[in-house]
């Protein structure tokens, strides 16, 4: 996507090998993250995250879902768990590089949506399923039971949308952080349901405009992408560094230290021991990132209130 000469390629790879990247960072250091919440007042929750020149906006919108069919979807042991339509779509504001024109942009958007869905929501059942190069585990970040209004009848549908305003590498991490911030900014309106309703009728609901329930975001994971360049891996690659990648692994880990999802990109095969090594490096980095992000979100919300 970025046109680099041979000399520039060598420079980037050499720098990474010596733990000194082009902008002076160490291999496992993130760019400064800045968070702004409430950028879209019409949405239930929104946030804008900037990591260097990468700029993304995430918004969360809620809608009541009355179809009991959708609410009764799956799962075996825990029948209380309701699959809501948490959809993720990424749109790209076209950039100047040719890779994003026309189809290229849509493919990248689809890839990001699926990766985010896997990392934040996890799979349907309790078993780990191997699907090509993607592994996913269940019951991940969002506690779906908090979205129930009436068991088996009414639930909230969450629509999470991501918009990439400007891309300079590491879109997945930025989108993950923006979604986490948007969810902590989300207020779900309180709903009063009329008591007397027969089973077939649609119950009367009164959606409050004043009172909001804050979403519980303690368990939402943060995505850390490790890009392997040569024999070392770096965190938070810029678009020039990403053009050098041989493979990249994105791991989402939450505060409790659990791994919620994992994706591997890139054509080069990885030795299993390297993958385990990357996982432990990612967990170590994710602790710092979670702390940093939580403090940024808290200060952004405080600023929004004032």
């Amino acid at each position: 996507m970025v046109g680099l000469s041979c000399g520039e390629n060598h420079f980037i790879q050499g720098g990474i090998a010596q733990d000194l990247r082009c902008d002076g960072r160490k291999r496992l250091a993130y760019r400064p993250i800045s968070v702004e919440t409430g950028v879209i007042p019409q949405a239930n929750g929104s946030a804008r995250v900037r990591m260097g020149a990468t700029d993304v906006i995430a918004s969360v919108k809620c809608r009541l879902n009355f179809e009991s069919q959708a609410c009764c979807n799956l799962i075996k042991e825990k029948s209380r768990y309701i699959l809501t339509a948490v959809q993720l779509q990424s749109q790209l504001l076209r950039s100047h590089s040719i890779g994003f024109r026309g189809r290229g942009g849509d493919e990248l958007a689809a890839e990001l949506s699926i990766a985010l869905q896997r990392c934040l929501l996890g799979g349907k059942s309790g078993t780990a399923v191997v699907l090509m190069l993607v592994f996913f585990f269940s019951g991940a970040g969002i506690n779906l039971s908090s979205l129930i209004v009436v068991e088996r009848k009414i639930c909230w549908d969450l629509y999470i949308d991501g918009l990439v305003v400007s891309s300079d590498g590491n879109l997945l991490d930025a989108l993950g952080a923006a979604i986490k911030a948007a969810l902590s900014n989300t207020g779900i309106p309180r709903v009063q349901v009329a008591a007397e309703t027969s089973n077939n009728e649609q119950p009367e609901v009164d959606v409050s405009d004043e009172e909001f329930l804050q979403f519980d975001t303690a368990g939402i994971p943060v995505i850390v992408t490790l890009t392997k360049v040569g024999r070392h891996y770096i965190v938070d690659a810029t678009s020039e560094e990403e053009s050098q990648l041989s493979s990249a692994v994105s791991i989402s880990a939450n505060r409790q230290g659990n791994i919620c999802g994992m994706t591997k990109r890139g054509g080069v095969g990885l030795d299993p021991s390297i993958i385990l090594d990357m996982i432990s490096a990612a967990k170590h980095v994710s602790d710092q990132v979670i702390n940093k992000l939580d403090s940024e979100i808290a200060s952004a919300e405080a600023e929004e209130e004032s």
Binding site: Q42, A53, I57, L93, R94, Y159
Partner: protein, 241 residues
């Protein structure tokens, strides 16, 4: 339904001749050559300009002046109900065309032959008047990119409900079914570059409504001028002048 109360107040508390609050910010997208965010009340749009740069499709290259392309899209979360198809639908194509023609009229394209200028406008929040907000944002973004222009293009909408000409309609007033006039002018040259209207209106009232819209455009033009002056001062300050 009553859009103007007997005391002369509209649904959101404005007077008929009052515009919504406008706010603009230059340089929102760091990777673009020029960019701006423009807000008119609750309507918020972001515009990014890339160019002048080499024409991507050689067959479209024009040897005597620049090629201007424009793309308008709405974010999924921009309207009240989440939209399914953000671009490629008829309305977006039409608005892209309208914005392109409007901006083409003001850019000095003969100074930049064989090049391409791309304008991308994205609506983050829609509350009526998105067309106007997009044109205003595109003007700011073009100025930020340093592309030579004849004059700014500013745009504002006006309507006629309950026998009163109203300036700057929001979504509720727009969907009332009354006439909706969107006007785009070059303020210094005093020329109209965009004129669109829905529904029907007697000609003498149309003159009044159009005059009102021109006033609105001129007010936006003075605001845009202020913003750009402020921006230039900032740039000078950073250069140490």
């Amino acid at each position: 339904m009553e859009f103007v109360s007997p005391e002369g107040l509209r649904l959101d508390g404005r007077r008929p001749m009052e515009m919504r609050q406008i706010r603009a910010e230059i340089g929102a997208v760091s990777k673009a050559d020029g960019s701006a965010i423009f807000e008119m009340g609750n309507t918020k749009v972001i515009a990014a300009v890339y160019g002048p740069r080499e024409v991507q499709n050689r067959s479209q290259q024009i040897s005597s002046h620049a090629l201007v392309r424009c793309e308008y899209s709405m974010a999924n979360f921009s309207t009240g109900d989440r939209m399914r198809k953000p671009k490629g639908d008829r309305r977006s194509t039409e608005i892209s065309l309208v914005i392109r023609q409007t901006m083409e009229a003001c850019i000095l394209t003969h100074l930049l032959p064989r090049s391409q200028i791309d304008i991308y406008v994205q609506v983050l929040q829609a509350d009526g008047g998105t067309r106007s907000a997009c044109i205003n944002a595109a003007t700011l973004a073009l100025a930020d990119a340093g592309i030579p222009m004849r004059d700014f293009v500013t745009s504002c909408s006006a309507g006629y409900l309950n026998s009163t000409p109203l300036l700057d309609l929001n979504y509720v007033e727009d969907s009332a079914g009354g006439p909706d006039v969107t006007l785009g002018i070059l303020p210094k040259l005093d020329k109209v570059t965009l004129f669109q209207m829905d529904s029907k209106l007697p000609i003498d009232i149309l003159e009044n409504v159009m005059q009102l819209a021109i006033e609105g455009c001129k007010a936006i033009a003075s605001y845009i001028r202020e913003i750009l002056l402020e921006n230039t001062n900032q740039l000078e300050y950073r250069r140490g002048v």
